[in-house]
């Protein structure tokens, strides 16, 4: 053989190898068959409501300071006060406006009553030293209740919404016992896991913080616990005795139509997924890769192809400037990563898509979202209303025992906004969402009732923020479900498909998932102006389907069943 040909053969072989690696590095995605087409019909009534807000347009987001702080009463912040607290939103007083609830690691939690026009009236709630917050109508009385997890040894607190004492007054919240639910809790998740029409609760404890508070590692109240709500009260199952859980979710990860339970764990403890087998829950191995210190869980259909894409956050600097790395290095060297056989963890955000082998594979680097700083909450949301879910991540860290080498022991970072371009995410600095406050909990909701998604952030050691969406692009439809015949009044777990002339948009009703935070049950569909909406399909949690042809292309739809 001519020796001059050999190097070229070598190159060709290398390229063939590369091509085979490309083809083989990840199994092909499964066919898009997210939800069954023929299901028993569920008659439902549709009410179209106008939105009261007037959009203000500047082409970017505009940040407002909210009258709430957490972490400012402490002389010094160390681990794990540093993990901050969450925020939740829902219409608590049924005035059509979404109210905010902020948890606080060093004081009272606070309700911010939405008065319209981005005016909020604070009302402290004597729920103290709180972490996560959810807004859930747990007893199906039509009023949304509040649930908090707390720092240290305290369990869940349940603040029952009593409704207003008189017409024109705001609802009152009373602390009620949650008899039968007595596990330590850092994170919580809500859903109807057994399909009995009542909401169940899953809680996860944070082992390192419990140790700080003198709790033994084998304490039976620690770990991941599933609390099933049944007619005679709450019944608890232990899913895992050990937990470093920062986020929890009920989510169908296997595509069988039933939700799994996903616990996202900090440090070297891998994320766990349990799938239901009859009356038992069994561990399932579904992830080819996970974050190492998984802070948050987020999911959505980012490609409008009927497939969910999962996203979790971790600690990874978003730029590699030497000054940035120098700020991180003294801390990172303390976080000596443990490593085990078959360890699937990587210290980076992961963006997981489900492949034909049934497992979820990481695409974060390919999509440009593997590093967003010391990241906490992350949310998908169609911020620019182009029909594609964008991504926002809040970040930063304050801890004297980790970042004592930095001024005020604070790692100052800019929150990261990513625009979904269809094939990948690109940074969107033009949206001006790069706040340098140390964000922890975060949610997206239409807080000024003008149709687009605003963002509320619970910052540590600085004022909470509301980033008002003034992009004024595209159009939107918001949908709210009312399932009056069950205790799951907001239909948590329902899947909604909005078929348009440019694609199918998918959303689901949820109350929790993102880091320490609670979502509103009002869903937002964004789409380009001029899009024709052809059909809205609602897959209820009991396996029935409601379909509406030609839904309106603006405002708020209330679907009552």
């Amino acid at each position: 053989m001519n020796s001059r040909i050999l190097p070229f053969l070598f190159l060709k072989l290398a390229s063939l190898l590369l091509a085979s690696l490309l083809a083989g590095c990840q199994p092909a995605p499964p066919p898009a068959a997210p939800l069954p087409a023929s299901l028993p019909a569920a008659p439902a009534k549709l009410t179209h409501l106008p939105l009261s807000g007037n959009p203000v347009c500047s082409g970017s987001f505009v940040s407002h300071r909210l009258d709430f702080t957490t972490g400012t009463r402490l002389r010094e912040i160390g681990t794990y006060i540093s993990n901050g607290a969450g925020v939740a939103a829902n219409d608590l007083d049924q005035d059509g406006l979404l109210d905010l609830v902020f948890a606080s690691v060093d004081g009272d939690s606070t309700l911010l009553w939405n008065e319209g026009g981005l005016n909020f009236t604070p009302q402290p709630l004597p729920a103290r030293f709180t972490r996560a917050v959810s807004t859930v109508d747990v007893d199906g009385d039509g009023w949304t209740d509040l649930f908090f997890t707390h720092r240290g040894r305290a369990g869940i607190s349940f603040w029952h919404n009593q409704g207003p004492a008189a017409v024109g007054e705001r609802p009152r919240f009373e602390l009620h016992p949650l008899t039968g639910v007595d596990s330590y809790a850092y994170a919580m998740g809500w859903g109807d896991s057994d399909g009995n029409g009542r909401l169940d609760l899953v809680t996860g404890s944070y082992g390192v913080e419990l140790t700080q508070h003198g709790v033994a590692a084998d304490d039976p109240q620690a770990g991941v616990h599933l609390h099933l709500q049944q007619e005679d009260g709450w019944h608890t199952q232990v899913l895992a005795p050990d937990a470093e859980t920062l986020s929890l979710a009920f989510l169908d990860l296997t595509g069988d139509g039933h939700p799994e339970i996903w616990a996202a764990n900090d440090f070297g403890l891998e994320d766990h997924v349990w799938t239901r087998q009859g009356n038992r829950w069994q561990r399932a191995d579904l992830f080819a890769q996970t974050s190492y210190s998984t802070m948050t869980i987020e999911w959505g259909d980012i490609a409008n192809n009927g497939q969910l894409t999962l996203f979790t956050t971790d600690m990874n600097p978003y730029d590699i400037h030497p000054r940035t790395l120098a700020a991180w290095l003294p801390t990172v060297t303390q976080l000596a990563a443990q490593k085990r056989a078959d360890d699937v963890q990587v210290m980076a955000n992961v963006l997981l898509t489900r492949a034909s082998d049934g497992r979820w594979h990481d695409q974060a680097t390919r999509q440009g979202v593997d590093a967003s700083g010391w990241s906490w909450a992350a949310r998908y949301g169609d911020l620019d209303q182009d029909g594609l879910l964008d991504l926002y991540v809040v970040n930063g860290m304050i801890a004297a025992d980790l970042f004592g080498h930095l001024p005020n022991a604070e790692l100052v970072e800019e929150n990261q906004a990513y625009r979904n371009q269809g094939q990948r995410f690109t940074p969107a600095p033009e949206w001006q969402l790069g706040s340098t406050a140390s964000g922890r909990g975060m949610l997206m909701a239409d807080l000024d009732n003008d149709g687009d998604l605003d963002i509320a952030v619970n910052n540590l050691r600085s004022f909470a923020q509301l980033h008002e969406n003034q992009l004024c692009s595209g159009a939107s439809l918001q949908v709210e479900l009312q399932w009056l015949s069950t205790q799951n009044r907001s239909a948590l777990g329902a899947q909604l498909l909005l078929t348009t002339d440019s694609g199918i948009l998918r959303r689901d009703v949820r109350a929790s998932g993102s880091y320490l935070s609670g979502d509103p049950t009002r869903l937002h569909f964004g789409f380009p102006t001029g899009t024709t909406l052809q059909r809205l399909d609602i897959y209820w949690p009991d396996g029935t389907l409601s379909s509406f042809e030609n839904p309106p292309d603006h405002g708020l739809l209330r679907v009552t069943r």
Binding site: S3, L18, P317, L325, A336, A337, K339, T365, Q367, H405
Partner: protein, 257 residues
């Protein structure tokens, strides 16, 4: 015996098939090499077993004891075959040892599940930016010397390209290492190392993070923006070693010793 010869079966005639074996053979220094290796291993093993030396020092001791025999052998190569052959002989030997070091690191990380920082190979203090930087420039210089002294063929040019890129990568990491050390010093952080940070390719490297490449098809290439540094440098060295062996083999087939 004054001169040792290879006594392999003629049917295989390995030295003729693979003339690099003849070049690397210690010939009359075989006994000295074997004796040095034996003494080195014995002393080092004993020192490690008695807790007198750490593994890296024992490894260094073995190499130090082998060095005189190696120098004699390379001197003999120079007298017999000239500059090109002795350069090739030294490069194949030293780069071979270097590759072994990377293989050990790879085993430590992937088979023994040590952490990245613990997977330091046999010569852990040598796993530093300074050593990598100097070493790769020396390898590049040796490849250039091979070319200047008459070695030709497409493989040596491929080797030059790979060695050049590898050296650029280590120069990049070395420069950043220096800048980061300066930043750490400015923060009064003096007890933290900046070793082992990503370079141009691999997870969190320049390609993965640059605004020009981030999220593009480049990030879809397996490993290019996702492999950890240990794997990246294992593959750099494996590729370099493979190309060096092929280039040396082709050269010696064309220009027999």
């Amino acid at each position: 015996m004054t001169q040792s010869t290879l006594t392999l079966p003629n049917v295989l005639d390995l030295p003729r098939l693979f003339p690099l074996l003849s070049l690397l053979h210690p010939r009359q220094h075989t006994r000295l090499v074997l004796a040095s290796l034996g003494v080195g291993l014995l002393v080092s093993y004993t020192a490690v077993a008695l807790g007198m030396l750490p593994l890296w020092a024992a490894t260094a001791l073995v190499l130090a004891i082998l060095l005189p025999a190696g120098l004699l052998k390379w001197h003999d190569d120079y007298r017999r075959y000239g500059t090109t052959a002795v350069t090739l002989s030294i490069l194949v030997t030293t780069q071979g040892v270097h590759t072994v070091e990377h293989i050990v690191q790879w085993i430590q990380y992937h088979l023994f599940y040590l952490t990245m920082r613990q997977s330091n190979g046999l010569l852990s203090p040598a796993n530093s930016e300074w050593v990598h930087f100097v070493w790769n420039w020396l390898v590049l210089a040796a490849v250039v010397l091979l070319l200047r002294s008459g070695m030709r063929g497409s493989w040596i040019w491929l080797l030059l390209a790979v060695a050049l890129f590898h050296t650029v990568e280590h120069t990049y990491t070395f420069v950043r290492y220096q800048i980061i050390l300066r930043e750490l010093t400015a923060m009064d952080v003096l007890n933290v190392t900046a070793q082992g940070l990503p370079g141009i390719v691999g997870r969190d490297g320049w390609l993965a993070r640059s605004e020009w490449t981030r999220g593009t098809w480049i990030c879809s290439l397996p490993g290019l923006t996702t492999a950890v540094r240990l794997d990246i440098h294992f593959w750099w060295n494996t590729l370099e070693m493979a190309l060096l062996l092929v280039a040396g083999h082709r050269h010696l087939r064309r220009h027999p010793l």
